[in-house]
């Protein structure tokens, strides 16, 4: 005997998608929901254990982990409290890499006039960001490769840092970069505004270089990371 916990389901072309209140999901064969509701799931089966672990059913009327589930639910809905806290600014579509998995419409040799965010758009975006009622805001710079547009980064950081006092916000700045263009100017900006640097390696050199579409990308990235560490 088991009890159902709240969940929704949707029929897929080749199965059923089950999603519970905290967003955990399982994809099961057709007919599974009917079997679950009809209490036809064998208690010794892997499915039964998976359904228990993922909080779709419970062996007790009051699930032992309901407090943990409630905490997860509260966390998941926290955005309702403060609304949007993460604001991503794509300051340029230009990029110095040619990644195989790139999801952005990056342009390797794009013209700044055509590929960079115009200042009026940037300023409008910053104004919009500060309308969020969240006391904590994260301003994240992406691209393309955002370090290729240091003038825009400087303008954005200066404006946001000034407005944070006016709006009484706690700001976190994040620079998402491939670390290949960590010039003194960019590093100085990061130091001045305490910008967190987010970067990645795809694995060893052969894999990283293949993914990034450049022969020496790995070495340059390592050098860039070293430069960032050198700045502390």
């Amino acid at each position: 005997m088991y009890y159902l916990l709240p969940f929704r389901f949707h029929r897929l072309p080749d199965g059923e998608l089950l999603v519970n209140e905290v967003g955990d999901f399982m994809v099961l064969p057709n007919g599974s929901v009917q079997a679950i509701v009809d209490r036809q799931v064998d208690e010794s089966s892997d499915l039964f254990k998976d359904l228990i672990v993922n909080s779709f059913i419970s062996t007790e009327k009051m699930p032992p982990l309901i407090d943990a589930l409630a905490t997860r639910l509260r966390t998941k809905k926290a955005f309702l409290d403060g609304f949007t806290a993460l604001h991503i600014f794509v300051v340029t579509l230009r990029c110095n890499q040619n990644c195989t998995y790139c999801q952005a419409s990056s342009r390797e040799n794009g013209c700044p006039a055509e590929s960079d965010m115009v200042i009026s758009t940037l300023e409008r975006g910053i104004e919009l960001m500060f309308r969020s009622p969240s006391p904590y805001l994260t301003m994240e710079f992406q691209g393309g490769e955002p370090t290729l547009a240091p003038n825009i980064l400087r303008h954005a950081l200066a404006m946001a840092d000034k407005k944070k006092e006016q709006y009484a916000k706690n700001m976190t700045y994040v620079l998402c970069t491939n670390c290949i263009n960590m010039t003194a100017e960019v590093l100085d900006l990061c130091e001045q505004y305490q910008v967190l640097i987010s970067t990645s390696l795809d694995g060893p050199a052969f894999l990283h270089n293949t993914n990034r579409g450049k022969v020496d990308s790995y070495r340059k990235t390592i050098n860039g990371i070293d430069d960032c560490r050198g700045k502390g």
């Binding site: 159902l4 709240p6 929704r8 209140e21 009622p133």
Partner: protein, 113 residues
Amino acid sequence: MMDAACVNGMMVFDVDFVQYEDAVVSKVCYWLSGRYIVCRESAHHTFCRITLERPGKAFTDDDFDTVRLEVSQSFADFKLRAIIGRETHAIRNILYIKAFANNDDFEDYNMTY
């Protein structure tokens, strides 16, 4: 859902309220209305008659079974959803109360713009 028939290029079927509560029938009709013109008649207090019409293209023998399967699956799915909703109503309330009750952390943010 009782046997469906193809009448003048439209699908006609009766739904027994003993098997499917009114809310389930309403949700299925709403779901189907995205693809078909749905007409619901309260033919009798124990069942209702539903007519599906595909705009601009009458049902043929070839696609009748496909639509019939779609309709019967919709009834089965919404009935299951109703059962799940009913059985988990109390625990869902408890879950939300535990998650959000006694929340003294809300602040009135000073909107300065």
